[in-house]
Symmetry: C2
């Protein structure tokens, strides 16, 4: 029996983010993207979510290469965690490699990692796979799709993309190459589903530049622009229009400064000489000669824009009249934090312009009509929607059916599920370990469901600690019970309630003594139950109750 | 010196929700709306936010009446809390009074409250004020604006409104009356600012009916529709189109059942005989004869739609093919919970239709062009934007300036600030107590900033309790220290860390003994600091540390 091609996503299905896909044939594996995810609202205290890498770690000797489509965190962010246990050459375009390099330096992993720079059009052999880099448009420079040649056929893995006929740099997505691959025959298409719910086309990046023109022309005030740090083309457009209108540009916020450094070093940005100035030197310039580019488009508390608004930025304070341009849309879940910054900007008298009023942001992902073009060009035998929640995957499947694809040839998978492909068949067969691993501070994986459940409980109702010292000899109460609470009620104004709680605990201990209960854990249960019932009746609340008995 | 008119908002400025406005002249006061607010994301465990009513309580003998514009929670939700301390007649239209009645019954306040029903066009005298009810369009039936005649002039208080020339019931907003008032002369306009950032006009409620038509016509599957329970006209449209296509309608979810009960009793809904069926009787009907109207348009965990999706609803389980229509937009902050339900609906094979694809929801608030019409009709001397965050108030002020209003005649106030008006002047002068009071379970106001800060700390990092018994005589350690954690790390997998923590605590106690520290609070500080430093270095986390010393 001939070998089958296996495709396994370790992330990016039924979720947005942490994209990782494994292609496996015989003894060889390649990995496409190693992304990280962001915590949901109820994952209290979690900094970052990474994939469960145990399948890759177990098979580390079989990994022939790691291929990266582009430099966004949801495609490269988990690399430092994977590289702790797995060593394999990393292949990426120049911009992506530049960003990976920064990241690996930070984690002191650069020396032991083989990082190979490729260009669109190049082909890399990795075991039984041959991977071709194909230029695409996206909201970061130098993004690529992969055409992965395998013994059973060619797979096209789009990564994130859009079709932009007038991009700021790099030229339009290589539709010709996709068409050629389609004519030669493509076994499977794995395509981005992020914007599949939106009809029509995503607007060109150039349209944003036209909006900037209108806002810079004739403006006599300072202009402050915030956008995503990774969107180099956007920053290029801001700098170009600023230069055109005689403004100097200062950049503030660490990720923004890093992005400009990397992209100018690598030649992805052209900044006219003398335009960039240090943010400390703005004071000497007249208002209509100043443009500040800043982080904070998502309302992040510690970002430069937020600090300017709340007057905690060292160099820049918002002044009445400042024109603040928000060249980004709020990622779902961030609306309220963006709103808080915008309100504060208005309170300081700024003139805030956002994308509701003008085209100040365009997405980096293909909408329905663009996706249809890709389907029509590639004409794959099998279609596997990726990069999306269930709603996106199902809607993308519907789009593919509308394009004439056989329903049976569309595979909606899930993380960890194994898709087996032959030249004539595709089916789900079995699974490998996959899931979400939480990173909290330095800890990777030491916080899980139980800890998060406790955090949620503590968050909503606070806690009550009941401490008593009891005799190890005869079980008599020696000291306490003392009641300590945090996050429950104002203690000073609730002294009566605290005393009532103490009396309930005393009664519970007494009852245990009367019934000759000597097992500490039974006594603790009694205290917990009695207090819990008492409190719910009295306050309709359910704090975490922690009885502690010290045997003395 | 002549008396001045005072206008004081106790809520609804620099926030969305909890609208309360006080009009005061001489010894008389009236209150317009008594709304509640919803907690922000970081107000852990808070159920409801109400205004600080201390100013009204202090002046309870001067309150001549409470006037309600409409029955939404952000305009009536705090009534039960105010009526605990304040007794005054409540004036409202029939629909609003019906909803207030339900609420007061629940809080056992109905008997001692004087609730008077008025109709649009009527006028009520309350002390030195005369209040006229003016019909407006909004997303709930029977909404009104007030023209408040005072000794210094007429104030128009819009409440929430839109201009709908083709509403489902009740006729268009009474623009003629606004125009007449404008001609007679209006001193001040207090106008809704909710949608002031949106250009153009809000679509008519009727446009949603047309979308329903398209989705019901020819559909052979069950149809499940979710919307806001208070939107009676929306429900009327759903029921009408269902009846037209021969479907029976079942209603599920408590707030939806209540709303239908009140509005049919009061004659705000006309349901053809035999159309409504009990949700238990659906099983006997063919799929294309079923329409279910359900709560859950915001993805609320316990709502009927959420329970259907996650298979915990007693009578209805989502089946493959079900057409689920979400006739609502997600309120900012709810996108992720709505998304979770939608994903689960897709997973069960439902065909989900939302407002991105079709006009399935329209707002109840006026957009820019409607606001301009109101300004142009009323031509007030002074303008006070209300119902909005700073961004909305400022944008509404800009709109008023563009309509030709003097910048000095526009007052942007804040909660608690006193606006003083004479026939020729308006200015801010002084303030009264105002703020946010948190309701958690039965507790009103016993949770404040410190408790919330602790909850946030507990939520993000969990906690560590260190307990030790020490001799009251010589300060020697008798038992412990024991380490108990919750919401910090998996204890079973972190036994080594727990032992390290214990040793740090032992060392801290020992050091205190060596240095002859005998004060328990100093020893506790030492334990807390040492553990905190140790943990931050080792884990980059900062759990709440609670040292407890029992003196025995």
């Amino acid at each position: 029996m001939a070998e089958k091609l296996k495709i396994i996503s370790l992330g990016g299905l039924n979720e947005i983010g942490k994209n990782v896909t494994v292609y496996e044939y015989g003894g060889d594996m390649i990995v496409v993207d190693v992304g990280m995810g962001f915590p949901d609202d109820d994952m209290y205290g979690i900094d970052v979510v990474i994939p469960d890498f145990s399948y890759l770690i177990k098979n580390r000797d079989r990994i022939r290469g790691i291929f990266l489509t582009h430099g966004h965190e949801d495609h490269i962010g988990s690399l430092p965690y994977l590289l702790r246990d797995v060593q394999a050459p990393i292949y990426a375009t120049r911009m992506t490699a530049g960003l990976v390099k920064l990241k690996l330096e930070e984690h002191r992993l650069l020396d032991k990692t083989k990082l190979i720079t490729c260009e669109a059009g190049e082909t890399v052999k990795a075991g039984k796979f041959t991977v071709e880099f194909i230029h695409v448009n996206h909201s970061i420079a130098d993004a690529v799709s992969f055409a992965i040649k395998t013994p059973v056929g060619v797979c096209v893995h789009t990564g994130d993309f859009k079709i932009d006929p007038t991009p700021v740099s790099g030229g339009m997505i290589d539709l010709a190459r996709f068409g050629q691959l389609g004519k030669e025959g493509v076994l499977a298409l794995l395509s981005d589903s992020t914007n599949v719910e939106r009809p029509g086309f995503t607007k060109s990046e150039k349209s944003v530049g036209e909006s900037f023109e209108g806002l810079f022309r004739g403006c006599e005030e300072r202009i402050i622009v915030t956008t995503f740090a990774s969107n180099v083309d956007r920053m290029q457009q801001i700098i170009s229009v600023a230069a055109k209108y005689g403004r100097k540009v200062a950049v503030t916020g660490r990720s923004m400064e890093n992005a400009i450094k990397v992209s100018t070093e690598l030649g992805y940005m052209q900044i006219p000489a003398g335009v960039l100035v240090d943010v400390n030197h703005l004071k000497s310039l007249p208002k209509n000669k100043i443009c500040i580019i800043t982080t904070g488009s998502q309302g992040e508390t510690m970002s430069a824009l937020s600090r300017m608004a709340f007057s905690t930025h060292k160099q820049v304070d918002i002044q009445a009249g400042d024109r603040v341009i928000i060249s980004a849309s709020a990622i779902p879940g961030n609306e309220n934090s963006v709103g808080a910054v915008v309100n504060e900007l208005y309170r300081k008298g700024a003139d805030v312009v956002n994308e509701r009023e003008r085209a100040l942001h365009v997405s980096g992902h293909a909408c329905q009509d663009e996706l249809k073009i890709i389907h029509a060009l590639i004409k794959p035998k099998f279609f596997i929607p990726v990069h999306g929640e269930q709603r996106h995957l199902k809607t993308h499947a519907k789009l593919a059916r509308e394009m004439g694809m056989e329903p049976n040839n569309i595979i909606i998978s899930d993380i960890g599920k194994v898709i087996e492909l032959t030249p004539t068949s595709a089916k789900l067969n079995g699974s490998v370990p996959a899931g979400r691993v939480f990173v909290d501070g330095y800890g990777v994986g030491d916080v899980g469901a139980v800890v998060l459940r406790d955090r949620k409980h503590l968050a909503e109702d606070g806690m009550i600690v009941v401490v008593a010292s009891m005799s190890g000899e005869d079980g008599s109460l020696i000291s306490g019970p003392d009641i300590i609470t945090r996050g429950f009620v104002y203690v000073k104004e609730s002294e009566g309630l605290m005393e009532e709680l103490r009396l309930v605990a005393v009664a519970a201990i007494q009852e245990c003594r009367d019934q000759r209960v000597k097992d500490w854990s039974a006594i603790k249960s009694q205290i917990k139950n009695d207090l819990s019932n008492f409190l719910y009746k009295k306050t309709k609340r359910n704090p975490m109750i922690l009885p502690v008995i010290m045997e003395v």
